[in-house]
């Protein structure tokens, strides 16, 4: 690989990105608007849908027959086996309440508006009363929980469409064919695309984070460098996924469809706006195979729990993300085609 080739192409692609003012503005504006919007919306009274973890033996059905509270409409009840996990989720606003039907007690986060509403509902139903317990620990707002999701989502869209869609456009317009007629190799081209998008998307993400942080004061308990590493590995995985999709597609419409097919499930299932703890098991299983999921898990562990790089809550998702990134790169490089034929 010739570093001069990579540098020249990286520079050219970066200039193209920076001078495309419309796309550039959108890359900044979208996450800013979303984070600000969530800060406003979720600072007020709670979300319309509540999620409650229930600690009960497998044999006990989660129905109103077990306890009248489990029949409350607009509340999603799901089974949780570990009290510790349930407490942590209540603390981080991932769920609104944890109910222990073995010891007849419930856990609530005093900072949670949803928790307060659910408490009122709980007191209003018949059945054996449950003892109130408060989760301990520092205050976590919803916006602290949602911010990594929104930043991660923006990073995902920027990486997927910024590489996948652009490469298909290059191929369709004959620009790739022209590059192929030079001594440039496919590997050099791919590395240049990776580098250019990686640097730019990280600069944008850091700028947006710092910009939002100036007025929202995000919670960051862990190391900012560890968080940056997660962003680097996550961006790389997303760019590689975009490259894989674009490896031989020749139609922009088809590429757009494929990229949407990948990005929308990640938006919904990877925990961008809300946790999928209450979702069916197969949905949670599916979410684990989407690169945004481990990226957000690791980022939230660092930001909200102050986890270190070597903590399993960061290391495991990071390793999974790295494996995905390498697999996507390999498949993208092997399948890469310069021309439309």
């Amino acid at each position: 690989m010739n570093p001069i080739h990579i540098l020249a192409l990286t520079w050219a692609r970066s200039l193209e990105f920076l001078r495309d003012r419309g796309t550039m503005a959108w890359n900044f504006a979208l996450p800013l608007l979303m984070v600000a919007g969530f800060a406003v919306i979720f600072s007020g009274p709670g979300k319309p849908l509540f999620t409650v973890a229930v600690l009960a033996p497998e044999t006990v059905p989660l129905s109103a027959d077990t306890h009248p509270f489990l029949g409350t409409p607009s509340v999603s009840f799901y089974r949780e086996s570990s009290l510790e996990t349930a407490q942590a989720k209540v603390q981080r606003h991932r769920i609104d309440l944890a109910v222990d039907l073995v010891h007849m007690q419930y856990w609530v986060n005093p900072e949670s508006h949803n928790g307060a509403v659910l408490e009122q509902l709980l007191h209003g139903v018949a059945g054996e009363p449950l003892r109130r317990q408060e989760v301990q620990g520092a205050r976590i707002r919803y916006v602290d929980w949602a911010a990594p999701g929104v930043l991660g989502m923006n990073l995902m869209f920027s990486c997927l469409f910024g590489t996948g869609y652009v490469i298909v456009r290059y191929r369709k317009s004959g620009y790739l064919k022209r590059l192929n007629a030079t001594p440039l190799t496919a590997a050099e081209f791919i590395v240049a695309q990776l580098l250019s998008r990686l640097v730019l998307v990280l600069l944008v993400t850091v700028a947006v984070y710092l910009g939002c942080n100036a007025f929202l004061h995000f919670r960051l308990d862990g190391s900012p460098w560890a968080l940056l590493l997660v962003a680097v590995v996550g961006s790389y995985a997303m760019i590689a996924l975009g490259l894989m999709v674009a490896a031989r597609v020749t139609s922009e419409e088809f590429a757009g469809g494929l990229l949407n097919l990948l990005s929308w499930p990640m938006m919904v299932l990877s925990g961008v706006f809300f946790s999928i703890d209450g979702a069916p098991a197969f949905v949670q299983w599916l979410a684990q195979w989407l690169p945004l999921t481990p990226m957000l898990e690791a980022a939230r562990a660092i930001m909200l729990d102050g986890a270190h790089l070597l903590d399993p809550s960061v290391l495991q998702p990071l390793l999974k993300l790295s494996a995905m990134a390498l697999l996507f790169t390999l498949l993208g490089a092997l399948g890469f085609k310069w021309t439309q034929d």
Binding site: A12, L15, R19, D20, K177, A181, T182, P183, T339
Partner: protein, 295 residues
């Protein structure tokens, strides 16, 4: 002159069609070789095989006597290509595009020289997507020359240009040829082939059906001239001469112009719009392929 480029029994097969069917020819150094053919004749596929951007199903391409399959990267360093339709990277100026392509080659022609040769001074700092058709083709030609190549491929370089821009481009091609470079050109314009090419090859159905200098090919195939009349005049006369209709005009190929004129005069044919012309490459093309070139 020794052959700089040689196509040896080239074959290119696609699932349902054999686009190139055993094409062989040599291109000596320093000439402009024109490859002509109707749409679908296989000339674009042939030129892609010669450029090394497509892989032949059979046969080989030799550059200076060596197969290009063995050292594709080295071959690409020595050639320049102007594709028929190529987009440049958006939001980059002409100068930046030239620098980008220059960086991809070990041997670089100085930027000032390129700018002067291709006359890019006026729009050097303009975004490449804001160029006119003629300016764009000049930039693409400059990109084809960034590595100071020995061999330059020009694939229909003037398609879509107005006559003035086309003639300006011909001047550029002539100046490049004068530098001693070897050119391989495909074109739809017979006038262009006649003006620029020392040697031409005509393709049809994936085969090379004629090869030689335009003058020699015309002399080999024709020893007559063409007499042209408006179709209405030619038909009204009711003469027995075998006119062939070409749109609004009727053409008569004959070795005896004086005799043909005498017959027409005798028949009372109006000769106010009469035209007499020598045979052209267009005629040769029609004779060999039976197809209009731009069909």
């Amino acid at each position: 002159m020794s052959a700089l480029l040689e196509a040896r029994a080239l074959v290119k097969e696609y699932p349902k069609v054999r686009a190139v069917d055993g094409v062989s020819f040599e291109v000596p150094a320093g000439i402009c070789f024109g490859l002509l053919g109707p749409n679908g004749a296989g000339k674009s596929t042939t030129i892609e095989l010669l450029e090394g951007v497509a892989k032949p199903s059979g046969g080989e391409v030799l550059f200076r006597g060596e197969s290009i399959a063995g050292g594709k990267s080295r071959y690409r360093e020595k050639i320049g290509i102007q594709f028929q339709s190529t987009a440049l990277q958006d939001f980059l100026t002409v100068r930046e595009n030239l620098r980008l392509f220059q960086a991809l080659y070990p041997k670089k022609r100085p930027l000032d020289e390129l700018i002067a040769v291709c006359r890019l001074e006026e729009f050097l700092d303009r975004d490449s997507h804001k160029l006119s058709g003629g300016q764009r083709q000049r930039v693409l030609l400059a990109i084809a020359l960034v590595n100071d190549p020995e061999l330059v491929f020009l694939d229909e370089p003037t398609t879509g240009l107005d006559p003035q821009a086309r003639r300006n481009f011909w001047e550029l091609v002539r100046s490049i040829k004068a530098e001693g470079k070897t050119l391989v050109l495909t074109t739809h314009y017979m006038e262009e082939a006649y003006a620029l090419c020392d040697d031409i090859g005509i393709m049809d159905h994936g085969r090379l059906i004629a090869r030689g200098s335009p003058q020699r090919l015309l002399a080999e195939h024709f020893d007559d001239s063409v007499l042209e009349l408006p179709a209405a005049d030619a038909l009204r006369a009711g003469s027995e001469l075998p006119f062939v209709l070409r749109g609004d005009w009727a053409e008569l190929s004959t070795r005896d112009i004086a005799g043909a004129l005498a017959i027409l005069q005798k028949a009372g044919t109006p000769l106010d719009h009469l035209r007499i012309r020598p045979r052209t490459l267009e005629d040769l093309f029609l004779e060999l392929t039976g197809k209009e070139l731009r069909a």
